[in-house]
Symmetry: D2
Subunit: 250 residues, 4 copies
């Protein structure tokens, strides 16, 4: 039985993680830490893996404390910069237990991770590629971090393969053409009723390949979270790992 | 038999119109005017309706000449401004024959005209609405005239119904949010392999309505052109008419 | 204030209706009737409109009782046959109060109602039309009642307009072509993660019109339920009314 | 310069191949063989690779003759059975030149080949998977060979990974559920205006992955044909090879 503590257990994502862990046959809940609890309660004695789902302003501090307390962490909170990641790496180098691991994923939805990967693989075979991401209207950032990641992955694959620049005869007023991320146009739709969706369009003369990931609700993240918990608990991925694709057998 | 002359018969659209007229049971080709021919050859004696498919810089002049020669015109060339339309109206007021008509359509694809109309009808029932238009990468303008028309129609319907502003929490960098046309966000994709496509997304809490028109090739415009020719030839629409929806029985 | 009683208040749909009524500025909850309560508690004295969301085997009985108790009803439960509707009509003819109304809708999602209506309007302008409905895998019937309704509406519109039969050269094994409903092919997808979705494809040479309604969750039905409650409470629709389109100003 | 002879040069696909070869910088046309010409004119002296695009009833005979004449072949004609493939293999074993190759692809559209591959890779991560293929109404078979291939690939991947059966509570009339191909439901739409399209839907609780390939016209096959010609001409793929994925660096 993997003993899982949830940091941010009062939040919507955290509560979903608690439910998912309780429903999993190979896991049990160790500690539920809310914003009023002391994270010091999560220790190597009572916890195999901590799942951190709080807010960007609190996450780094939480992760550093958990590392110091000897606990491996699966992090669902977003907002990680290179600088923050470096601090996590440094903390892991001084971690009390050998093999301690931190896993951070910008997106736990398997459909989104696969879409990202397939788009990058396919990109070099097409003349054009654009990304449309669609979210609920409460989202404050645009485009989404996932869409930026996908655009960079497409651009990198095309550079490596020596692809020509994408054709685009657009002249004049171009606000409608969206944001160019590393040369890949990214469009962000904000629509009541939607949750989190991404569509990659790839085109050649006479043909199109469309790869679309729809995340309809929080439930979509739970299989990815449990997959990460199992991989981190296995001890086979010590140190810092970023991205769920690492744990997909593709 | 409706006698149809085609101005711009050497172009791709013009050639398609010639074919479509020849295939129609109730029409026959009168004059085929290319860029090397004198448009004066098209007269009320030999022509019931002229179809003009040339370039924006030539269209107004062609239409004014045809009016003066006593011929009704179906115009497929784009690029009409209010000022140009006023000159057409003035010329029709002085036209040699009673009941002479000019019909101008920004889009002859029935699917596009219906999508535009349905989007406007539905707009007031939804919290959010956005427009995505997708075209081949040789298109020089963005967004498309059709998308601008659709956005204005959505905005007007919502104003009339007293709809609240659409929710949008986006902060900071917003190039990815596209162009706001009358408060409606419009996104333009340019992709090799595509022709002319428009998608309208309408959202409420828990639901979405998507209306999409795909024009795969020139063939898609011919039913609309023939419908316009028949309506203009009927004599029931004297003066200037803009928009194919006028001739759809909806 | 419209006083609304909810019959089936313990169910998922009923509970959502209670929430939606409580959130509406112009309504208040009168009685909440669960399966353990006596529906006789809902009377003309305490209730302007009853909303009935139970199960097909109970709905007719509930509606007849409510009519006899002098209460107008908005019915969300499905499974209505012509015979059942006739019994409702007969009961309304003998209703204690003048102007009592019963409103029954096969679908309260505005997107679905609009998709159905637009598909029927557009059908006569296209050579081909097919319907794809997509639902969660727990649904026991296929195709959905909504898809059957849409197919019949398309077929009726095409008959009235004298449209030719749709082209289809398919030979041999045809299970993949789905179910022909009144000559319109209907396909049913059952997929984990989906809720209730319908897509109508309409095609001409060179063009396609796609109309798609997505109902992601129960929230999508509430605007339609409240619209129906307001219309029934207004007293302007006495007797039996079927279909939310009656209350949409299209 | 790769010398390419086209067998079936009078057909629409053959004519497109001639154009594509003439436009390619590294190829030239050797022989154009129409139905009135003797295929014996294509020899190892004048041809590096023959491209065969005729009809299923003629293709095997053509390929056997070309092998006997010492020529490697890229085959675009469909309708290959295991028995026919065995005869090609046998002929290649007795071929006059070492390293002679025959390449057969059920589909030369890169988007379709990638969609097929990605669907198979993703299949084991999802609870449900279904295939929708959409074609012009002149197609005589349903479902398409590509859709059958995709369904088998999905089923095989799920068997290997030990996936549970897909959930489906459907009872009673099930024509709308399409054709079960190896346990994967396949739906075939026939719609005027479409050409050849395939959509794979993969679903988990709360999420969906959609992979869609659109082939709008014959142009979509040419990059795949040229890729096959180059690979066959390289001499690195002697014997019989089936499927364009062999030549994609994925």
């Amino acid at each position: 039985m993997i003993r899982v503590s949830v940091v941010g257990a009062q939040g919507r994502m955290g509560a979903s993680v608690v439910q998912a862990v309780e429903a999993a046959q190979d896991m049990q809940i160790a500690q539920k830490i809310t914003e009023n609890d002391d994270i010091a309660a999560v220790t190597a004695d009572n916890t195999d893996v901590a799942v951190e789902f709080t807010v960007p302003s609190a996450a780094l501090d939480n992760v550093l404390k958990l590392i110091a307390q000897g606990v491996s962490v699966v992090v669902g909170t977003t907002g990680w910069t290179d600088e923050k990641l470096d601090r996590v790496k440094a903390a892991l180098a001084d971690a009390p237990h050998q093999g301690q691991a931190v896993f951070i994923a910008p997106n736990f939805a398997i459909s989104a991770v696969l879409a990202d990967k397939f788009a990058a693989e396919a990109a070099k075979y097409f003349t054009s590629a654009e990304v449309i991401e669609l979210h609920h209207p409460n989202k404050v950032d645009a485009p989404s971090g996932t869409a930026i990641h996908t655009a960079h992955a497409i651009a990198a694959a095309r550079r490596e393969a020596g692809c020509a620049q994408m054709p685009d005869a657009t002249q004049g007023e171009v606000a409608s053409r969206g944001q160019s991320v590393d040369g890949v146009h990214v469009h962000a739709v904000r629509l009541q009723g939607l949750n989190a969706h991404e569509e990659v369009l790839l085109g050649n003369a006479g043909e199109q390949l469309v790869i679309r990931a729809d995340s309809f609700d929080r439930a979509s993240f739970m299989p990815g979270v449990l997959l990460a918990v199992r991989n981190v608990a296995s001890g086979e991925h010590p140190g810092l790992t970023v991205g769920l694709d690492t744990f997909l057998d593709l």
